[in-house]
């Protein structure tokens, strides 16, 4: 345990810089040159106008570059410098009425217009046609509309339209007390409830001038890894279902069910809802409990290894996943892909290695698949590697009991920003608190949100019947976008 979070500040620092409109693009480019990775942008209402902020991840520090915009004043676009900013700009346009200059007309993202042409890319040529799927699907799938432009079975381009169940959670949380806002962040999504809640808690604590102590950090890390465990088991099962391989699907679905029951036994909720608290730890584990959990996890790990071995030697599955839905490393980086999808493409982004507010320590190394080909196989393999690492982390964390935790007061950051690795990638939460101590802005950008454009890109050139498999290999969440 020596390497894990022993020294230094226990939170992610945020450096804020406000620049003039004329310097906006140069400043953001400068952040890239200093090693910053674009990780989201959000608007805040300020008087008649708006404050527009871009976030850059640079190791343990998050740098925020802000620009104040008057009423109706357009912001220079970032999308040509950072293609990953596309959704952020379109969302700010739809929800905050922000205009951007220097880019093609913004296609609606959150606002749904009647004309298909307004939100799809024009695709022409001989024999091209469109296949529309959703927003109502046959299985237990969230609402999303996919429009495939195809020739024969070959996909030329995919336009996806989400936000069918946009709930306005961010706006609803404004004006609340910070501890009441936690539930809003958590409820953004069921499958990343812990990640969203921990990201919110870390961001809000930074804004309030609190720093989590050792036990809080350990408890939150434990919960995060339990969440990753059941998600990764689920995702492997989903890939098996995507190719119609029932034994793999059944084996991993059963393992996921065991992980969910373990969660329920620990915190009283299968999906770990309500297990994170602001300003302290919401989960305690006694010594006897930790011992029992270690035993259960060891058995689960052995069974998972056995099921994984079966999968490794299933030739018909291997033939299906190899080379399908490939995402090149350069594209993954440009589109801002995160999580297993990025790591499968050979980009070693994993903010668990730079999360001082948690208990991973500086020795954490991002998982790498045996072959970083960026295809479905690599995304499957990277989950296999991460499952082993997660079980090992859980074993280490449960070596000793997790006691009650409490945050310590420290100097407050003007804006709290936290980045936490969800099972789908980096989740960024920004929290701003007004002088009265109420939430003035809550912004949540999840791993799913970051990866949706990469999924659409990886789909192009593949066969239409392979899309469900490619989709499952990303296993992105719709609710995270429809927050």
């Amino acid at each position: 345990m020596s390497a894990r979070g022993a020294v230094g500040p226990a939170r992610q620092a945020t450096e804020v810089r406000t620049v003039a409109v004329g310097e906006w693009r140069e400043s953001c480019l400068g952040e890239r040159d200093r090693g910053g990775r674009f990780c989201g942008a959000y608007a805040v209402r300020a008087g008649e106008g708006c404050r527009w902020t871009a976030l850059f991840a640079a190791g343990e520090v998050t740098r925020a570059v802000s620009v104040a915009l008057g009423a109706g004043q357009p912001a220079p676009t970032l999308v040509d410098l950072f293609p990953a900013a596309d959704w952020d700009e379109r969302e700010a346009h739809d929800l905050y009425g922000l205009e951007f200059e220097g880019r093609a007309a913004l296609r609606p993202l959150v606002a749904h217009t009647a004309e298909t042409e307004s939100w799809t890319a024009p695709v022409g040529g001989e024999g091209t046609y469109q296949v529309a799927v959703g927003p109502i699907h046959a299985g237990v799938i969230e609402s999303g509309h996919f429009r495939f432009h195809v020739v024969g079975e070959r996909i030329l381009h995919l336009d996806s339209r989400l936000f069918y169940k946009h709930r306005g959670l961010e706006r609803a949380a404004e004006g609340l007390a910070p501890d009441a806002g936690l539930a809003y962040a958590q409820r953004a999504c069921g499958a990343c409830a812990v990640t969203n809640a921990v990201a919110y808690a870390l961001a809000a604590e930074a804004a309030l001038g609190l720093e989590p102590d050792r036990e809080t950090r350990r408890a939150r890390t434990l919960l995060l890894e339990l969440e990753r465990l059941y998600n990764h088991l689920n995702d492997v099962a989903a890939i098996c279902a995507g190719v119609g391989f029932a034994p793999g699907n059944m084996a991993f679905a059963a393992l996921k069910e065991r992980a969910l029951r373990l969660n329920a036994g620990l915190v009283g909720h299968r999906f770990l809802f309500g297990s994170v608290a602001l300003g302290g730890s919401g989960a305690e584990v006694s010594a006897a409990r930790a011992e029992a959990l270690r035993g259960e996890l060891r058995e689960l790990g052995e069974d998972a290894a056995r099921a994984w071995r079966e999968l490794t030697f299933a030739a018909s599955v291997r033939a299906r996943v190899d080379g399908v839905g490939a995402l090149a490393a350069a594209d993954a980086a440009a589109l801002g892909a995160v999580g297993p999808a990025a790591r499968a493409a050979g980009i070693g982004v994993d903010c668990r290695g730079s999360s001082p507010g948690l208990w991973y320590g500086s020795g954490f190394v991002a998982a790498a698949p045996p072959r970083a080909s960026g295809d479905v196989e690599a995304r499957l393999e990277v989950r296999g590697v991460e499952l082993v690492a997660t079980l090992e982390l859980l074993r280490e964390l449960l070596d000793e009991p997790v006691g009650p935790g409490r945050s310590r007061p420290v100097a407050a950051d003007p804006r709290g920003v936290a980045r936490v690795e969800s099972p789908r990638g980096e989740t960024v939460c920004a929290v701003e608190v007004d002088p009265a101590g109420r939430l003035s802005r809550l912004h949540l950008r999840t791993g799913s949100y970051a990866n949706w454009p990469a999924l659409a890109h990886a789909t192009a050139g593949n066969l239409l019947p392979d899309f469900p498999l490619i989709n499952k290999s990303f296993e992105l969440c719709y609710a995270c976008a429809d927050r």
Binding site: V131, A132, V133, H137, A138, G139, E153, C240, V243, G244, F245, A246, P247, M250, A254, A314, S316, V317, A319, R320, V324, L463, L464, P465, D466, F467, P468
Partner: protein
């Protein structure tokens, strides 16, 4: 005894056919560690669908309306062509294998035409895939039937069944090639993995399910029964033409029952152990089957069977 064969043909084809996919589904569930539906589930589905009303998509024409009846009407006489335990009553239809191929193709055509009539994307995709596979599946069916027809010197299914009886055919490499190639016919005609996944709810991957999506009520009941009857036809053919059978009528009837049980179990095992293939690999697989049948044909020619 011919009367018994007639009874099995009619009652078996009409009433027992849904038991075959039901048994495969039920056994498959057990193999996969699920409790699964009862083997009788297809009957419950048919009863439920028969009592339901249907809504036609607009605009559609008589092509769409008639397709379920046409599919069922093409499947029903096909049932009467297939001999049971080497016997077939005289229904004044003959028992020609080529007529059977034509009737199966007619059902496929009717459903494809209905898909074009509705213009539904998923129906069209499913039909287009089915027709693409049919380009390979129909020659495969013809070639395997030819292999069975050579020893009988006739395309009469009763004669073919008789020629395939006993131990003698198993000394011919052509018979083995035909049996292996016909296994692929069974997979493609029943729409099972690794060629199609009958359990999927993902519209984008559908083949045989796709054209059925627009139908409801009695239309769907007719189509589902036809699907079950297709199972019956190809599995009985497999048992009669390429399965071991000898002895008198009653012994052969026993062999048929055993053959059907073994084939259903084989389908369940295949579907459990094999993932679905990439769709563009399927024509290659079927072409491989054709090549195997041609090898059998060459061996028959060299061996002087002709």
């Amino acid at each position: 005894m011919t009367a018994v064969a007639a009874l099995v043909q009619v009652l078996g084809g009409l009433a027992l056919a849904p038991l075959l996919p039901g048994a495969v589904q039920s056994l498959k569930a057990r193999l996969q560690g699920r409790r699964g539906p009862s083997p009788l589930q297809p009957y419950r589905n048919l009863r439920r669908l028969w009592g339901k009303s249907a809504v036609d998509p607009q605009p559609t024409t008589i092509v769409y309306r008639l397709a379920p009846c046409l599919v069922a009407a093409a499947t029903a006489p096909a049932l009467l062509l297939v001999p049971i335990a080497g016997r077939a009553p005289d229904w004044s239809l003959g028992n020609d294998a080529l007529v059977l191929v034509g009737l199966l193709a007619l059902g496929r055509f009717a459903l494809a035409a209905a898909s074009w009539d509705t213009g539904s994307g998923f129906a069209l995709m499913g039909s287009a895939r089915d027709l693409t596979f049919a380009v390979f599946a129909e020659p495969l069916l013809l070639l395997t039937l030819l292999l069975a027809a050579l020893p009988a010197a006739s395309t009469d299914l009763v004669a073919m069944s008789a020629a395939a009886g006993g131990a003698a055919p198993w000394g011919e490499p052509a018979h083995w090639c035909g049996a292996a190639a016909f296994a692929l016919v069974v997979l493609v005609e029943t729409g099972r993995q690794p060629i199609d996944n009958p359990d999927t709810h993902l519209e984008l991957t559908m083949i045989h399910e796709g054209p059925l999506l627009e139908y409801a009520g009695r239309d769907l009941a007719l189509l589902e029964w036809s699907g079950a009857a297709r199972h019956w036809i190809v599995l009985v053919l497999a048992a009669e033409l390429f399965g071991p059978h000898w002895g008198g009528f009653w012994a052969q009837l026993g062999w048929l029952g055993l053959g059907l049980a073994v084939l259903c179990a084989a389908l369940a095992v295949t579907e459990t152990a094999q993932a679905k293939m990439r769709i563009l690999r399927v024509p290659g697989l079927l072409a491989g089957g054709c090549a195997l049948a041609l090898v059998g044909l060459a061996s028959a020619l060299v061996g002087g069977l002709v």
